[in-house]
Symmetry: none
């Protein structure tokens, strides 16, 4: 792949508009009875027409055989080399609850847990206390103050919550305090590098204060830290691609990822129809739109083949609304595969189509995993999609003399 | 490609079993009369069925256009990035005669040669003396002792032998003493780095002592060193992939390469049928089996198109025995192409198939170079095959949050 520094040198601002439509977890595996994947089963006349008018291929989000999480799956679609740009689990947790993470912030996923009178963990999840109880305890922990650092204690769900530290010279390079099994004491936060010593101290001080605030709240009488990580300070799409990008996504984590790369997150409703109205009403204000459909992934995660088929078919029916806006470049792809038969993300490459006036149309007439395997894009890395979209929008100058 | 360090973080131990069947030099070129390659000519109903049930593609062992030797061809199949992990020729020579090379050992390919009274080389191969004579002279050279280093002098064939030095602080970073042409004196061994000075001295001392031991043995009255190289100390598959891997190969060099990556080498017979019995009798003890068929390569090297066709067809007939073991993942591929029309290794990508319950079956119904070119794996790097095999065995966790 070409690196972002080179793309930054080549990219130019033009009025042309790109829409990147991401069906989360779109790629699938065949139903054993029919031999057809979810996408092959769904009735998709509009996607098929777009495939026929565009150029298709398959894309590996990370590398063949590697199953991506949501962050690497999306960042690669946005053009970022994943070996270089890592988004930590704590950061993702904070993004997932719509927290406005700022540069320099360090975030962690936390658990309420149960410890006995000797401080030994007896339940890492505090009996999965109710979310309401958890929110109440988070409120209590907000009393904690530590010199020189602002602290956000954020409920997530059941025993899970997030903590964000804001201040100068923090680092995410700190080991978990969660020993990952009951029968052990919570670990001290240990820095993995010299510049993380202060952050480790802060986490240890927070933990000590939390313990004394929680003594009476058995089973949730202690806290554990995991996935401690810092805002990744990613290059911004406005800078790299000279775009004024917008994100239309109903789930907080995807809005958060979009924010990390500098997209403006547009308020929208819960359905794809809502997202399309949002797209339409903001059409004049941006030159790049990332539109995210979540339900293809969640139905795949649930192992619900037929629901995933319906989500795809329903979205397909609404595509003419999108095409009426006449985007100069339309990309349809996915962040990763989520085959219903695997009930989870998988390593399989995702179908990808690019339709523009200059896309060199291939022989593919159907948007499906099999058909895309024979497409004119061949099998590429997902990180190639953004440069291809930019090129098709005539937004990239030539490379070299 | 994804690096081994990341694969190590992602890989998990599970009971599923992977078989990697390597037809050495399988890829071919068409017979000018029929227009069909060796693989396309051979009757291969079983391979064709596996192709239909699996996902196919082509794989480049190194990079398009690059013809690999046996070591890079195999190491890339085992997942190793060849720009990072190099196996030297001396090491390969020692492995090829079944020598038990240890970590830190430095090995070299050596020639007996003829020098005149002025020490000038008149024949770099000492008239290709008989192997028996050569073995006798090797025995004589075993008298040589050098302070602080253990020396192994190992006959290979005709004028060729190998020398292995064992001791502390050795290095393979030493220039050849073979000037590559007659009419010149043997060169002094010259270190290419500071840490190789001692090794260069050892080789020069060995050469001086060999010369005086060989004065009466014209035409084999001097020795030349080439391919001086150190045991590469490769990451072990048990560590990288959490596998307990076994190798079934009839030729020493392949057993040696397997040892380098930490496979247990199983004793086996001379034929593929023997190899399959070995596979069957050790089935319960390992979760990864590398099975090597040599004769596809040797018939190709001999330019014997029809013999290569027969080797392929004969192996195909035995495949049902392999499939009765019900491997969770079967990989069939090659280390490189050896087209009979070229009588040697070539740069052409090799056919590859992966069959598992989760492989996303493609449209390929025949295991051939042409059919694989349209397969769902597309054209990948051979180094992607191990991650794909691991993924299909559900032995890789997801990457990133």
């Amino acid at each position: 792949m070409i690196n972002l520094e080179i793309l930054k040198q080549l990219s130019v601002k033009t009025p042309s508009k790109i829409v990147m439509l991401v069906f989360d977890g779109l790629g699938g595996l065949p139903d054993p009875e029919t031999g057809k994947t979810e996408l092959e089963t769904a009735s998709t006349p509009n996607l098929d027409r777009l495939a026929a008018e565009g150029v298709c291929g398959l894309a590996n989000p990370v590398s063949p055989g590697i199953t991506p999480g949501s962050a690497p799956g999306h960042l690669s679609l946005f053009g970022y080399d994943l070996t270089q740009y890592i988004v930590g689990r704590g950061v993702l947790e904070a993004l997932g609850i719509d927290f406005e993470l700022a540069e320099g912030d360090v975030a962690a996923r936390c658990n309420f847990c149960t410890v006995d009178e000797n401080g030994v963990i007896t339940d890492r999840r505090a009996g999965r206390i109710a979310s309401e109880k958890s929110a109440e305890l988070c409120k209590r922990l907000r009393q904690i103050t530590i010199e020189g650092v602002e602290i956000f204690v954020l409920p997530v769900r059941e025993h899970r919550f997030a903590v964000v530290f804001r201040g100068s010279e923090l680092s995410g390079n700190v080991e978990d305090t969660d020993p990952q099994q009951a029968g052990l004491m919570p670990k001290k936060a240990v820095p993995r590098s010299g510049d993380a010593e202060r952050t480790a101290e802060i986490i240890n001080e927070f933990t000590t204060k939390a313990k004394s605030l929680l003594t009476d709240s058995v089973p949730a009488n202690m806290v554990l830290f995991r996935g401690i990580s810092q805002h990744p300070n990613l290059p911004q799409m406005s800078d790299t691609f000279k775009l004024n990008p917008a994100a239309i996504a109903t789930y907080p984590m995807y809005r958060g990822l979009a924010k990390l790369v500098g997209m403006e997150v547009l308020a929208t409703g819960a359905t794809f129809a809502d997202e399309l109205s949002t797209l339409s009403s903001h059409w004049d204000n941006h030159d790049f739109f990332y539109v995210h459909i979540k339900q293809t992934d969640s139905s795949g995660e649930d192992g619900d083949f037929q629901r995933k088929v319906r989500v795809i078919a329903d979205a397909d029916q609404l595509l003419p609304q999108l095409m009426e806006l006449i985007p100069d470049v339309l990309v349809v792809s996915a962040d990763h595969s989520t085959p219903a038969v695997l009930k989870g993300h998988s390593w399989h490459p995702v179908p990808a189509l690019i339709r523009s006036r200059y896309c060199r149309v291939d022989e593919v007439k159907e948007f499906s995993e099999k058909a895309c395997a024979a497409g004119g894009l061949s099998t590429i890395s997902s990180t190639d999609i953004m440069p291809l979209a930019m090129a098709n929008a005539l937004k990239l100058n030539r490379f070299g003399a």
